[in-house]
């Protein structure tokens, strides 16, 4: 970024740019907040654990077994996290493709969220790789495993990160006051959005497809050949539910940045309606799959009860709440429904990847405390970076006047 600013503004002294960036590095806002006090020690422990992981191997900090080789870091950080980050492509679709300008005020913050999520999830993925330096093989082609679902997911994932960065880049340009770059980057947005949506649909479904071959390992209630489709559909309302929650937290934390001309309520109701629709579609699909796979026999087992908790408790009930709020708008109900929806997505992804994976194994996998701390560390670092950016760049607040008429 530094370089770019310099080439664009040769007249600006190097000192000026560096000084500006150094100044921006300083913390803004209070340091001794409750969040900081909780997150800092956890992050410190987490970093020590990450060091141990690299100096002694995965076994030193994780409880992974030969039968359950993917644990919390993949099941939560990657498989669940990607669904939570789905809001970025859904909103880009609403605003740019369907031209629903109403959602524009929350677009940037969602894109930023999505980008950071992907950045940190790929970080988590690297932690989990046994031989992380070899990840380069996938890019340089030593070799291309072109029939591998994971290869395709990986590439779509990587390219989507670039698309998200491009979608967000006008905000960076506004921050650096780089007008020429802003014009170029804004012009590229539509292309980035279109490819971003395509890449998203494919990698969201690809995450479901990863588990297709694990047919004998995942409990039949959670394994079916429609998993790719189910994963995309659930990423729509999962992503939007996160947007709702993130928005309500941001409004409290960054209240000074909000411009009250945004119709916050109508945005919220719009999002609730999308969730209700998405969840209805998902439920219909779930029922069809359930009948098609003749899964009724499992319902009387403990696994069946667990399945019903997921589907009825955390998809059906929040859907009803969203529907109710469509008829009689109520912000509290929407927020409760959004939290339940997120829990439902979490349950579903964890069930597929961990809980019902090798459900018959003699030694069950239970994540170690170290795995939890490292996961929290990654989430906290992400939130710190998010906060750093929001306080500096026009993400929630309005763009500077010179950039207004664009896009």
């Amino acid at each position: 970024m530094k370089e770019k600013a310099n080439t664009l503004y040769p007249q600006r002294k190097i000192n000026g740019t560096v000084g500006f960036l150094l100044n921006e590095l300083k913390p803004k806002g209070k340091i001794f907040t409750v969040f900081n006090m909780i997150s800092l020690p956890i992050m410190l422990v987490g970093i020590v654990l990450i060091y141990i992981r690299f100096s002694q191997g995965l076994g030193a900090v994780t409880n992974l077994t030969q039968q359950v080789p993917w644990g919390l870091w993949i099941g939560f950080d990657v498989v669940t996290g990607v669904a939570f980050a789905g809001g970025a492509y859904v909103l880009a679709f609403l605003v740019y493709i369907l031209n629903l300008k109403k959602f524009k005020p929350i677009l940037r913050v969602t894109i930023l969220n999505g980008f950071l999520a992907y950045l940190f999830y790929s970080g988590a993925l690297l932690l989990d790789l046994g031989r992380p330096t070899s990840v380069i093989n996938v890019i340089i082609g030593n070799n291309f495993g072109v029939s591998s679902v994971m290869f395709l997911v990986g590439w779509h994932f990587l390219l989507y990160m670039l698309a998200l960065l491009l979608e967000f880049s006008p905000a960076i340009a506004e921050w650096l006051n780089a007008k020429k770059a802003h014009r170029i980057l804004s012009a590229a947005t539509l292309g980035a959005v279109i490819f971003g949506i395509t890449l998203s649909v494919l990698h969201q479904s690809g995450i479901g497809a990863l588990f297709l071959m694990a047919e004998d390992k995942i409990h039949p209630l959670w394994h079916n050949s429609y998993m790719p489709l189910m994963f995309v559909v659930s990423s729509i309302f999962g992503g939007i539910a996160l947007v709702i929650i993130e928005g309500s937290i941001s409004r409290k934390v960054f209240s000074s940045q909000y411009d009250e001309s945004h119709d916050h309520k109508s945005i919220l109701h719009g999002l609730a309606r999308i969730c209700a629709g998405g969840m209805f579609l998902y439920l219909v699909m779930t029922v069809l799959v359930f009948i098609h796979e003749q899964n009724a026999v499992y319902l009387s087992t403990t696994w069946g009860a667990w399945y019903l908790v997921e589907i009825l408790g955390f998809v059906f009930v929040p859907m009803l709440l969203f529907c109710q709020s469509c008829i009689k708008p109520n912000q509290i109900v929407i927020k409760i429904a959004a939290v339940m929806t997120l829990l439902g997505i979490l349950l579903n992804r964890m069930n597929v990847s961990i809980i019902a994976f090798r459900w018959d194994a003699a030694e069950a996998y239970v994540p170690s405390w170290q795995e939890f701390i490292v996961t929290l560390t990654i989430i906290f670092i992400e939130i710190w970076v998010f906060r750093w950016i929001v306080r500096r760049m026009p993400v929630i607040r309005k763009s500077p006047d010179w950039a207004k008429d664009k896009h």
Binding site: L58, R131, N137, N143, F144, S147, M150, T198, M213
Partner: protein, 284 residues
Amino acid sequence: MDINRRNFMKSLGFAGVALTVGKSHGAEKKPEGETEFYGMLYDSTLCMGCQNCEFTCAETHGLEEPEDEPEAGVVRKTNQNRRTVINCYETSQGEAYIKQQCMHCNIPACDTACLTQAMHKTKKAPVIWREDKCMGCRYCMISCPFDSPKFEYGSTNPKIVKCTMCADRLREGKKPACAENCPMGAITFGKRRDLIKEARKRIHDDPEYYHNHIYGEHEAGGTGWLYIAGVPMNELGFDTNIRKKSYPALTKGFIGAIAPVDILLPGALLGIYAATKSPKEEEE
């Protein structure tokens, strides 16, 4: 085949990769019959559980020697230190021994799963693991229906460990070490087709003694290791309900759908974009 494909893919450049994948390469490898694979036939009725195969395997591959013995009621497992185990089961026909290792599937799930082709089905038969390619993602372990690949969790440079059917020895024209050193002749190495014939013959000649099933002939789409025994294989710790088609076939539909979606969806999105864009805004 491998070299050609690699050059082909390289020449496409990376943007093209994702687009052409679905069309030019299905998940399925060459169908069986085209390739004359080698294989191993294990006859449980001949095995007396002496563990010679375990010891010779450990010696050949520089692994720790086994310290425990097969015992009915105890399931020993392969792990990062041993590539094969002999187990003893109490069956309807009395005690019987069974050997376990990677099955060297004809169309292996691990090979298809592996995003760098570190897991690789060679032309002769062995499914090998290539250290210089693997990134340790353990997707092969997720996908293998027999849980064959094992991972060195205690290492900072972990390997995926499993039976390689002594691919190095085969290259030198030798038999796999276990086949050579089994004192009972319970392990036979040869062309897979011939082994199936031999297995049929043994079952045919002694139908009272053998259970009439060759495990691995069709299981998981056909495996390099073939098993015959006096009892059904589920009494010997094997899953007999396993699918008879190959596992990679399960992802074929998805892989095939990627290219069309990659190509068609952007066009559709552009169409919707054009349709929803109000003329008023264009003026603005």
